[in-house]
Amino acid sequence: MGTALLPLTGKRGTGSPLLALFPAAALLLFLAPVLAGLASTALAAFGYLPALGGTAPGLDPWRRLFAVPGLGASLGLTLRTGFLAAAVSLAAVLGLCATLHGSRLFRWLSRMLAPLLALPHAAAAIGLAFLIAPSGWVSRLLSPGLTGWQRPPDIAIVHDPFGLCLVLGLTLKEIPYLLFMAVAALEQIRVREQLAVCRTLGHGRAAAWLHVLIPQLYRQIRLPVYAVLAFSLSVVDVAVILAPTEPPPFSVLLFRLFTDRDLGLFFPASAGALLQLALTVAAIGAWRLGECAAGGLGRRLVCRGGARVPEGPAVSGFFGAVAGLPVLLSLGGALALALGSLSRSWFFPQALPSAWTLAHWMRHAPELLRPAGVTFAAALAASAVGLFLVIGCLQNERVNGRNPAARTLWLLYTPLLVPQIAFLSGLQVLLVRLGLDGTWTALVGSHLLFVFPYLFLSLADPWRAFDLRYRTVALSLSGSRARSFLRVELPLMRRAVLFAFAVGFAVSANQYLPTLFAGAGRLTTLTVEAVTLASGNDPRVTGIYALAQAALPLAVFAAALALGARRRF
C-alpha cells in the first residue's frame, strides 16, 4: 500500500516532516519503558536483583523453574487451551461472516456482540461461572425439580481438567472482538460486488466466501487474531476463575510464583516470564506456518475448481447459534450477578434469592464513586492520547510511505505478547526511580502501553484498506493535505475511529496489573477494586463491583455505536 503511494507523494515533491515524527515518538514513548521493564525481568531471570539478594548471575533461576512440579502439564494445558480458544473464535467469526453476512440476523448479532466487548474479562468469567457451575444459576433453576439434586452434583464443569470451560470463557470475549474487527474490515472489502461476480461465474455463496472473501478478510484481521492467540496464552484473571487448578495454566503458575510469600521465587518467576514470551512468539510463528499451509491448500483447491462447501439453513443456523452463545451466556451471567448483588441470602437449590436487600448497594455505592471517576478519567485520557498517536502514525504511512520507523512499529505490540506481571514489575521500579508512581502520568502512561496496540490493531487495517482515490480527489479539489484529512479522510473513517476509541476505553478500564503497579495504592480503578474484593468471594460484593466495572465501558460503547450509526454523507 505504502509503495503505491510513493508516486503520488513524490509528485507533490514533499512529504510531511511533522507526521514523520509520529512513529519515532511512539516508539520512544513505548519501547523505552517496555524494554526497561523487560531488561530488569531478564536480569532477574539470570539471578541479578540486588534488592532481593541476587548478586551472582547464573542459570540457577532456570534450573529452579524447570524443577517446578507440574511445569510440563501446565505448559501443555496453556498451549491446548490457547490454540483451541483462538481457533474456535476465528472459525466461528469466519463461519458467521460467510453464512450470514448481509442478513438481518448478522446485523442483529454484530449489534448484540459489540457491547460484550466492553464487558470486562473477569466480570464475564465470574458471570459464566455463576451461571454454569454445579451450584450455578442454571443448576438452581433445574433443581431439585428436574434433576432431583438436593446438593450440587460432584462434576467439574468449571475448572474441568481439560480446560474446556476456560476455552468457553475466552471465546465469550474473543468472538465478539474478532467479529467486531471483521465487521470493520468487511466495510473495506466490496463484499456485494465480489459475491455478484462469483455468482455470475457459477459459484455458490459459501464457495465464494471460502475462496475469495475470507482470504481478503483474514489478511485484514490477522493482527487481531495474533493478539487473541497471545491473550489466550497469557491471560491470568479469566484462567484463575475458570481453568483447572492443579496444575494451572502456565500464566497462573507464573502469577503464583511472582506473588508467593517466598520472595526467592521471584527469580524462577522472572525466568518463567521470559519462557512465556518465547512461548507466545513461537505460538504465533506456528500459527503463521498454519496460515501458509491453509493458504496453499486453498490455492490447490481453487486450481481444481474449488471445494464443495456445504451450505444451507442448517450451516448458517449453526454459526448463528455459535455466535449467539456468547450473547446468551454473558447476559445470563450478568443477570445472575445482578440477582446475587440484591440477595440477602441465596443457597442451593433455591432458584431465586430467599431474601432480598438493597443494603449491599447502599453500603458500596459511595465507595464506587472515586474509583469510577479515576477509571473514567484514565480511560478517556489514555484512549484520546492513544488515538492521536495512532492516527498520526497511520497517516504518516499514508503520506510519507512506510519509512523505517513505520516499519518497526510492530514492536509496539510487545506489551500484548509479554506476560504483564513480568515486565510491569520491572517498570514499577523504573516509575519509583523517576518518582512517578501513584501519579496520573504513570497511570495513563501505563494504560497507554496496552491501549495503543489495541487502537493500532483496530485502526491499522481499515486505515490501510482505505480507498486512496478519495484522497486523490480530495487533494486535487482542496489542494491541502490537512483539509483533505479533516474533511474527507477522517469523516470516512469515522466509524472505525469511534469503535477504536471505544475499544481503547474498554482496554484501559479493564487494566488490573498496570493500575496496581502504577497507581501505587494512590489511584485505584473499579477493576482493581473488583478483583481485590472478589478475593472475598462474597457473591453480593462481587456482583456489585463486576456490574459497576462493566457499566462505564458499556456506556462508552453505546455512545460510539450511536455516533457511528449517524450518517454524515
Partner: protein, 403 residues
C-alpha cells in the same frame, strides 16, 4: 553504690533509647510522635477479602481521625505479596525514604521474608503506650510469629485460631480428631476439601493434621531438614494418601482460597471447612453467606493459633502516623470492637487483667455469637510450627501430586 550503678544503667538505657529514636529519625517522646502524626496520611495496605475486616479498618480510620488527626487510607490488597513486592521495588529503585506504604497487615512468612530482606522499620513496639497491655506471656504468639521472635518489628492487633466450620443440619456429630476425620470421609466421600496447597489455609490444613499425627509435636517448633522431615512426616502422608481421593472432586481440584471454600460449604458441596477465624460461622450467618445451621468445632487435642500483626516498611513516609494507628489498634476500645461477634469477632491480644475495670467491662459486655465457641471450648492454642515445616509440606505435596 548499687543505687548509683542502677541509676547509671537506667540513664544509659534511656540514652540508648534516645539514640535509637534519633537514629530512626523519630521524636524521642510519644507526645512528639503524636504531634508529628497529626495531619499525616497513613496508607495501610491490608488484604481486603473480608467485609467485616474492611468495615473495621474503616472504623479505625474514623477513630484515629477524631482522636489524633491521622488520615488513614485503606489500600485494599488481594494478596499481601502485592505490598511486599512494592517495597521490594522501592528498595530496588533506591527510594529508601518517602515510601508509598506506611503500614502493612502481615504475619508469618511474609513477616519473616521482609525482616530477612531488611525491609522493615523497627524495633518500634516499645514506643507504643498500649503495648504494655498485650498478653505476651499468656498469648506468646503476640511476640513469637511462627516461632520467629518479632523483636519489636511488628505489633499484634488480633488473634486468629484454627477452627472447623460445619453444617449441623447435615452433619450432627462432626469428627473431632484427625483420624476420625478420615473415618468420616470414608463414609462420606467428596464432602470435605482444603484450599490449594500454596494458599496459606491449604498448607495449614496439613500442618494441623501433622500436629496430631507426628510422634513428638514438640519437635515442630524447631527448624527441620529434608531427611528428618521425610522421616517424621511419614504418618501425615499415609493419612493424606488415603484422604485425598475422598476429598471434594476426588482431590483433583482445590478451591482457590478460604472464601472460595466457604462458598462450597454454603451451597452444600462440602460439609466441613477449615478456617483461621474463630468467628467465621457467626459472621457468615449474620451476613447471609452461610446457612443459619452452620456451627464451629475444634479438635480434641487442640488447634493452632496465631496472631495478626501490623508492620511498618523501612522506608515508610509517615512512620509517626503509622505508630499512632498501631497503638490505637491496641486500645481496649479498638480491641473490644474487633472482638464483637457481629463485626470481626477476633479474640483480643490484650491481657484483660491489666485493664482498668471500666475497660474490662467492655469485654464482659460483649455478646457471644450463635456459632462461636467460648474460650473454654476453644481450648488452648498450639503454637505455629517453624516455617521450615510448612515450606517442606508444600514442597513435598507438590512433588507428590503436581504433575
Amino acid at each position: 553504690m548499687i543505687a548509683t550503678l542502677r541509676s547509671l544503667t537506667v540513664t544509659a538505657a534511656v540514652f540508648a533509647a534516645l539514640r535509637l529514636a534519633q537514629a530512626q529519625g523519630l521524636p524521642p517522646t510519644w507526645e512528639g510522635i503524636l504531634e508529628r502524626a497529626r495531619g499525616q496520611d497513613v496508607y495501610w495496605n491490608a488484604w481486603a477479602g473480608d467485609e467485616p475486616t474492611n468495615a473495621f479498618i474503616a472504623w479505625v480510620g474514623r477513630r484515629v481521625k477524631e482522636t489524633a488527626g491521622v488520615n488513614l487510607v485503606h489500600v485494599k490488597l488481594s494478596l499481601t505479596a502485592e505490598a511486599v513486592s512494592r517495597v521490594v521495588a522501592e528498595k530496588a529503585a533506591g527510594r529508601h525514604e518517602g515510601g508509598s506504604i506506611d503500614l502493612i497487615w502481615i504475619n508469618g512468612e511474609n513477616f519473616l521474608a521482609m525482616k530477612e530482606q531488611g525491609l522493615l522499620f523497627g524495633p518500634f513496639t516499645h514506643r507504643l503506650p498500649h503495648f504494655g497491655l498485650v498478653d505476651t506471656a499468656g498469648k506468646p504468639s503476640t511476640v513469637i510469629d511462627f516461632t520467629v521472635p518479632t523483636e519489636g518489628y511488628e505489633s499484634p492487633w488480633r488473634m486468629a485460631r484454627i477452627v472447623y466450620v460445619y453444617d449441623a443440619a447435615r452433619l450432627p456429630r462432626p469428627p473431632r480428631s484427625i483420624p476420625a476425620m478420615l473415618d468420616w470421609a470414608r463414609a462420606n466421600p467428596g464432602r470435605i476439601t482444603h484450599p490449594r496447597i500454596r494458599n496459606f489455609l491449604g498448607s495449614t490444613f496439613l500442618k494441623q493434621a501433622l500436629y496430631e499425627l507426628i510422634d513428638d509435636p514438640g519437635r515442630l517448633v524447631r527448624p527441620v531438614g529434608e531427611e528428618e522431615f521425610l522421616a517424621r512426616s511419614a504418618p501425615l502422608w499415609r493419612w493424606y494418601e488415603e484422604l485425598k481421593p475422598l476429598l471434594w472432586r476426588r482431590g483433583e481440584q482445590f478451591p482457590e482460597s478460604g472464601p472460595a471454600m466457604r462458598a462450597l460449604l454454603a451451597d452444600g458441596e462440602i460439609d466441613i471447612m477449615i478456617s483461621f477465624n474463630p468467628n467465621e460461622a457467626t459472621a457468615g450467618i449474620a451476613r447471609g453467606i452461610l446457612p443459619p445451621t452452620v456451627r464451629t468445632f475444634v479438635l480434641e487435642r487442640g488447634t493452632i493459633g496465631n496472631t495478626s500483626f501490623v508492620a511498618i516498611p523501612y522506608n515508610a513516609r509517615h512512620k509517626e502516623g503509622a505508630l499512632v494507628v498501631a497503638d490505637f489498634l491496641l486500645t481496649p476500645e479498638s480491641q473490644a470492637r474487633a472482638m464483637h461477634p457481629e463485626g470481626m469477632g477476633n479474640p483480643t491480644v490484650l491481657d484483660l487483667d491489666r485493664l482498668a475495670p471500666e475497660d474490662r467491662r467492655r469485654f464482659a459486655a460483649l455478646p457471644r455469637g450463635v456459632a462461636t465457641l467460648s474460650p473454654e471450648e476453644l481450648g488452648r492454642a498450639l503454637p505455629e510450627p517453624h516455617p521450615s515445616w510448612m515450606n517442606r509440606i508444600v514442597a513435598e505435596w507438590e512433588r507428590r501430586y503436581s504433575r
